[in-house]
């Protein structure tokens, strides 16, 4: 009976503890809004990421071997499914935001008093050669791989367009007061001549993220939010050698960090084999 007593004690003891645990967690959750996080200490400034998502940041394939780039293509295709025109038909959810970069689209307070928030359309066609509409392999079969660049979603984050004269000369041409330009270049000096031409496809042909897509209102208010994309196509990469490319987004509140190599930029290796 002593064993029973002790067993009973622990059942009650742990029962109470579990109750206290769940209770405090519930109370804590009450203090947290369901629409926006209490703090964004760690998530901002935003990261810059690419599709396809690859291990060890390396894209390696043989143009003549469809099997070798199949995972990348599938990854791109899957990601772009939401950007199909037929996915963006409901006018309750979607809204045309034009095809010229404009200022932020403010949609009121971060709650559901006015119901869900509308979302700007993003036309897949804007991505042109990288849209996968004409070329389902996104240029990979021709050895001209596409990658999609996106700025990580952060609720309420309004990226500020860069100040014109702060931009490096090669990006200067892309300047627009309502655009976060994206630029990819060789990471190392000796890769500069191996990188070849780089094509950028974005909203209305602008090589960057237009500000009208911001701020993001969160999963609950904008469940079908489409973040603006920039497709980058490398049309003349040198084969059979590793080429390291770094892509950056430019903006006043977009920063880079030595510790976080994906903050505001990323780098990726291309290794295209000729056979």
């Amino acid at each position: 009976s002593l064993a029973v007593k002790i067993l009973l004690f622990y059942v009650i003891f742990y029962g109470c503890l579990a109750g206290i645990f769940i209770g405090t967690i519930q109370v804590m959750l009450l203090t947290v809004s369901e629409f926006e996080p209490k703090y964004q200490d760690r998530v901002a400034p935003p990261g810059l990421t690419q599709i396809p998502q690859v291990q060890k940041t390396e894209i390696s394939f043989t143009a003549s071997d469809p099997k070798s780039f199949e995972p990348y293509v599938k990854n791109l295709e899957k990601f772009l499914k939401d950007y199909n025109a037929d996915q963006q038909t409901e006018s309750i959810v979607f809204q045309d935001c034009g095809d010229v970069p404009t200022d932020y689209t403010e949609r009121g307070p971060y709650n559901d008093v006015q119901g869900q928030k509308k979302v700007c359309r993003f036309k897949r066609e804007w991505l042109e050669n990288c849209s996968g509409i004409n070329d389902p392999t996104f240029g990979y079969r021709d050895g001209k791989p596409c990658i999609l660049v996106k700025l990580n979603r952060i609720i309420g984050f309004k990226p500020k367009a860069p100040v014109n004269d702060s931009l490096p000369p090669e990006v200067m041409a892309k300047y627009n007061p309502y655009l976060i330009p994206v630029h990819c270049a060789a990471k190392r000096e000796d890769d500069v001549d191996k990188i070849g031409t780089v094509e950028y496809y974005g909203m209305g042909g602008y090589p960057g993220f237009a500000l009208q897509y911001y701020p993001y209102y969160g999963k609950l208010l904008q469940p079908r939010y489409l973040q603006p994309l920039v497709a980058v196509q490398f049309t003349n990469l040198t084969y059979d050698v590793e080429v390291r490319v770094e892509c950056r987004a430019y903006g006043q509140n977009i920063q880079y960090s030595d510790k976080d190599r994906f903050q505001g930029r990323f780098d990726i290796k291309f290794d295209i084999k000729s056979s």
């Binding site: 002593l2 007593k5 002790i6 622990y10 003891f13 742990y14 503890l17 206290i20 645990f21 405090t24 967690i25 804590m28 959750l29 947290v32 629409f35 926006e36 996080p37 209490k38 703090y39 964004q40 200490d41 760690r42 998530v43 935003p46 990261g47 990421t49 998502q53 690859v54 291990q55 060890k56 940041t57 996106k150 990580n152 979603r153 952060i154 609720i155 993001y216 969160g218 999963k219 609950l220 904008q222 939010y225 960090s257 510790k259 976080d260 190599r261 994906f262 903050q263 990323f266």
Partner: protein, 963 residues
């Protein structure tokens, strides 16, 4: 004597005249032992696993393999540093001892190159001629070639407490018995002698015994056994949980490598890295405290051994007694008076108005050859050094206390003749002029064995008047003499005679050889009895031992009657208890008919002990609670100690002589006398009693018991948070949440925030009178018992984990990851390729942002454990009493602990929060308070636990919740 050249030759051949210290373990071996003992092995395993996984990851080309390399290095460093620390602590306490034995350099007066030279005793060689005088220590074994009234104290060698006279005559085959050899390290009490060195260094008799003693093995100390038990327990838990979760994680399809890393984490979380260092520090703090109270501990662990002592075998002379004869009783005018025998007497309270006392005091003063060494006028009388034997010294001091300047009284009563004491006469006599200028008579004074003195008397002084000594008065004398003798006291009789002026004019030629003066028909004045009185603190200490359940056994070389008298006066034999002989006497039956069980006390003679079988000895030790061994030799001490140990007792033994060293070694704790003790005894002992006082042992026992209790608290405190460190790993493995706490962070708790608080518990005062409970049963009362482990691990530890997890979930939720999102995310969370990891709000996180959040989680978890450890520290102050009974502020060091804990946590979080390798981040300040309610809950819960324990003693709650 020898020439210097020859002496140098012999010195080169024989080596210096000093005892080789017992072979010490090489320092490097000691150091290495510290690094592989205890938990170190587990941590080495952890380190090796870390390096293995580093190697594998490096080979696989993983992104950040160096984390594991560093972890391995850190673990190895932890082991090495704690090893060095423990070694240093150990070495420090050994050094105290080493410096202690070197304190007195020995010198000897040697004849070399036909010249007397003073030189260090260790330079002596065989063949040297040395001179010794009263008070010297014999510098080597010497054969005497010239003596003058030389007496040596061989007590350290043979245990005989009476000084023995030495001469040049060869009297016995046995070198120990013959009179013409004086032994190394014994002392010359009086007289002078010259001798030839016959043995030096280890070849001396003492040297041979000392090397014998080092052969007696050292037993493991109780605390060492307890700590070993504790290490096994914790290591067992660590290994079984580690292996269990290794299997679980492998079967949950984690990679072997990952599982190995989990295993390291589990080991690190389970091992209280800082605890052994803490224990060492606590013990050395207590050792320091004990040193202040005159107990010098050689071996740190002996600190606690003293606390678990259940039998103390104590010497009488010097330990229980003051080691000097003191006048205890007087008999004059048909009445017994008691004298003050305390250590620092300045007056004597008994009635001194009778003229008989005046006469007696005159005899005491004059018939005495002892003298104070000059130049001690400023010292208290009792502390002055006297030249003379023990009884005369006692009488001199006694007279000095009552009459003042004895030397000037003697000067005023000039001595004209004297017969010193000898064993045939058994009296001492002197004749003096009187200090009364009108009285031209000579005064003859005499003292000696009472019966001999009485024989020479025809009258007796009563109230200053001489009355004839009739049979009635002689009867009264006999009664008084028996009574004083029965108290174990040495009795002396005193008588005097004023020589008629007409027969003995002031030119009378007194001749002591022909004794041309009367030595009979004297006037008997009184009796004085002397004893080596107990130290005044001893009776109290003995009664403390009694209430503490410690049996005090007196072992002495003295006569049974004296031994019994002292035992009675200090309470070793209590007032009401009787020996078999006492009962026989009271009932008037033969000793054999007495029921031995009725007698609580026993006085065992060494001669009886010699003929006893082990069973008989066991029977005595078992059946009698109050035992005195009289007339025992030091060799028999060993037998007694072994007998006590057979009863399962933890035995403390005091000793000073060289022959005591085997017993000192054999005992669980050997206590050597600091003043009277020989070097060999001090070497063999675990502890040295600086003031030779028994009472100091008792304070030592108290400290030892306290530290045992406090170590319990320290361990309970330390073990608790191990669960809070372990749970994160288990839940991480099972629920696949982001890692709540890092291995490095755990080390910062174990070796950072927790150290000072756990040491602070060593300063905690006792909860109740620890000297009122029985000594702990070394088989049952463990340092870490089941209740302690269960309460710490399964109750407080779990509560801490809950509190820490609440903070963890709060941090993640407020940054965007609600608890529901966290479950099962581990694989993606830790995937370096995913830099757009979605949180509960749809935001996307890069890998580094997640890692940084994870470190914030570590920090939050760390801070929560720290905050709850504050509560843990406070509840551990007591095990039974309420904190309010104990007082929150009595132990100030606890507060130092609390502030240091929080201070270190603040520094780590905000000061080092930007050092990536340490995995700390500056935490939002409010997260420090999330765990506060849980800290309060812990406190309240523990108060309730203690309340129930106090309310319902013996209930199942008490049995299971009291540790």
């Amino acid at each position: 004597g020898l020439s210097s050249a020859r002496a140098a030759e012999i010195l080169a051949r024989d080596g210096p005249n000093s005892l080789t210290p017992p072979k010490a373990t090489p320092e490097i071996v000691k150091l290495l032992k510290q690094m592989v003992g205890g938990f170190s092995i587990l941590l080495w395993i952890g380190a090796v696993f870390s390096w293995i996984s580093f190697g594998i990851q490096l080979a696989q080309g993983a992104e950040s393999p160096f984390d594991n390399l560093y972890l391995g290095v850190v673990l190895a460093l932890v082991v090495i540093l704690t090893g060095i620390f423990a070694y240093y602590q150990e070495a420090k306490s050994t050094n105290i001892m080493a410096s202690f034995s070197k304190m007195i350099p020995q010198h000897a007066l040697v004849i070399r190159d036909a010249e007397k030279k003073e030189m260090p005793a260790d330079q002596l060689v065989v063949g040297d001629i040395v001179e010794i005088k009263g008070g010297d220590r014999i510098p080597a074994d010497i054969r005497l070639i010239f003596t003058q009234g030389c007496k040596v104290d061989n007590s350290s060698l043979t245990g005989e407490s009476e000084p023995q006279s030495r001469s040049c005559d060869f009297t016995h085959e046995n070198p120990l018995e013959t009179r013409n050899i004086a032994f190394y390290s014994t002392t010359c009490v009086e007289g002078t002698a010259t001798g030839i060195v016959i043995n030096t260094g280890d070849r001396t008799v003492i040297g041979r015994i000392a090397s014998l003693a080092s052969g007696v093995g050292n037993e493991k100390t109780p605390i060492a056994i307890e700590i070993e038990h504790f290490v096994y327990l914790v290591a067992g838990v660590a290994i079984s949980i580690g292996v269990l979760f290794f299997i679980i994680s492998v079967s949950m399809r984690y990679k072997i490598l990952d599982s190995l890393i989990f295993l390291i984490g589990i080991i690190v979380a389970n091992v209280p890295e800082g605890l052994l260092a803490t224990v060492t520090v606590s013990l050395s703090l207590t050792a320091k405290r004990m040193a202040k109270k005159n107990c010098l501990v050689k071996n740190l662990e002996a600190v606690e051994t003293l606390g678990s002592t259940s039998i103390i075998c104590s010497d009488k002379t010097g330990t229980l007694t003051q080691n000097r004869m003191t006048v205890a009783h007087l008999w004059f005018d048909n009445q017994i008076y008691s004298a003050d025998t305390s250590e620092d007497q300045t007056t004597q309270p008994f009635d001194q108005s009778s003229p008989s006392w005046t006469a007696l005091s005159k005899i005491v003063t004059l018939c005495n050859r002892a003298e104070f060494r000059p130049g001690q006028e400023n010292l208290p009388i009792m502390k002055r050094v006297v030249v003379g034997d023990a009884s005369e010294t006692a009488l001199l001091k006694f007279a000095e206390v009552i009459l003042g300047d004895v030397m000037s009284i003697r000067a005023r009563n000039k001595k004209v003749a004297e017969i010193p004491f000898n064993s045939t006469n058994k009296f001492q006599l002197s004749i003096h002029e009187t200090d009364d200028p009108n009285d031209k008579r000579f005064l003859l004074v005499m003292k000696g064995a009472p019966e001999r003195i009485l024989e020479r008397c025809s009258t007796i002084m009563i109230n200053g008047k001489e009355e004839p000594l009739d049979s009635e008065k002689a009867e009264a004398f006999q009664t008084a003499y028996m009574e004083l003798g029965g108290m174990g006291e040495r009795v002396l009789g005193f008588c005097h005679l004023y020589l008629p002026e007409n027969e003995f004019p002031d030119t009378y030629p007194f001749d002591t050889d022909s004794m041309n003066f009367p030595t009979s028909n004297l006037c008997f004045v009184g009796l004085l009895s002397m004893i080596d009185p107990p130290r005044s603190t001893v009776p109290d200490a003995v009664s403390k031992c009694r209430s503490a359940g410690i049996k005090v056994i007196m072992v002495t070389g003295d006569h049974p009657i004296t031994a019994k008298a002292i035992a009675k006066s200090v309470g070793i034999i209590s007032a009401t208890s009787e020996t078999v002989e006492d009962i026989a006497k009271r009932l008037n039956i033969p000793v054999e008919q007495v029921n031995r069980r009725e007698a609580t006390a026993a006085v065992v003679n060494g001669m009886e002990l010699k003929d006893m079988s082990l069973q008989q000895l066991d029977e005595i030790l078992c059946n009698h609670s109050e035992i005195v061994f009289a007339r025992t030799s030091p060799q028999q001490k060993l037998i007694i100690v072994e007998g006590c140990q057979r009863q399962g007792a933890v035995v403390a033994v005091t000793g000073d002589g060289v022959n005591d060293s085997p017993a000192l070694k054999k005992a669980d704790i050997g206590i050597a006398m600091g003043i009277a003790g020989s070097d060999a005894a001090k070497n063999a002992a675990d502890m040295v009693l600086l003031d030779d006082n028994f009472a100091s042992i008792v304070t030592g026992v108290e400290e030892g018991r306290l530290i045992f209790d406090n170590l319990k608290k320290t361990i309970a405190y330390t073990l608790t948070k191990n669960i809070a460190e372990l749970c994160p790993f288990l839940i991480y493995i099972i629920a696949s949440i982001p890692m709540p706490i890092g291995t490095i962070t755990i080390l910062f708790i174990d070796l950072g925030t927790d150290i000072i608080p756990s040491v602070a518990l060593a300063y905690e005062k006792a909860e109740s009178d620890i000297m009122n409970r029985r000594p702990r049963n070394k088989r049952k009362d463990r340092l870490v018992n089941e209740q302690l482990a269960v309460y710490s691990y399964l109750q407080i530890g779990i509560m801490q984990s809950v509190g820490a997890f609440v903070t963890y979930f709060t941090v993640y939720a407020e940054q965007g990851f609600l608890p529901s999102t966290l479950l099962g995310v581990r694989v993606n969370w830790e995937n370096n390729a995913i830099n757009d990891f979605e949180d509960s709000y749809g935001q996307e996180w890069t890998k580094y942002q997640r890692t940084y959040l994870q470190w914030t989680g570590y920090t939050a978890f760390f801070v929560s454990i720290t905050i709850q450890q504050v509560a843990d520290l406070i509840i551990r102050k007591t095990r039974r009493n309420s904190i309010f009974q104990q007082g929150l502020f009595r132990n100030k060091v606890i507060w130092v602990g609390i502030f240091s804990q929080i201070g270190i946590a603040l520094i780590l979080t905000y000061g080092l929060g930007h050092v990536t390798a340490l995995n700390f981040t500056p935490l939002r300040f409010q997260y420090w308070f999330v765990a506060v309610p849980f800290a309060i809950l812990i406190w309240v819960y523990d108060e309730v636990r203690k309340l129930f324990i106090r309310r319902y003693p013996g209930s199942w709650w008490d049995k299971n919740m009291y540790y």
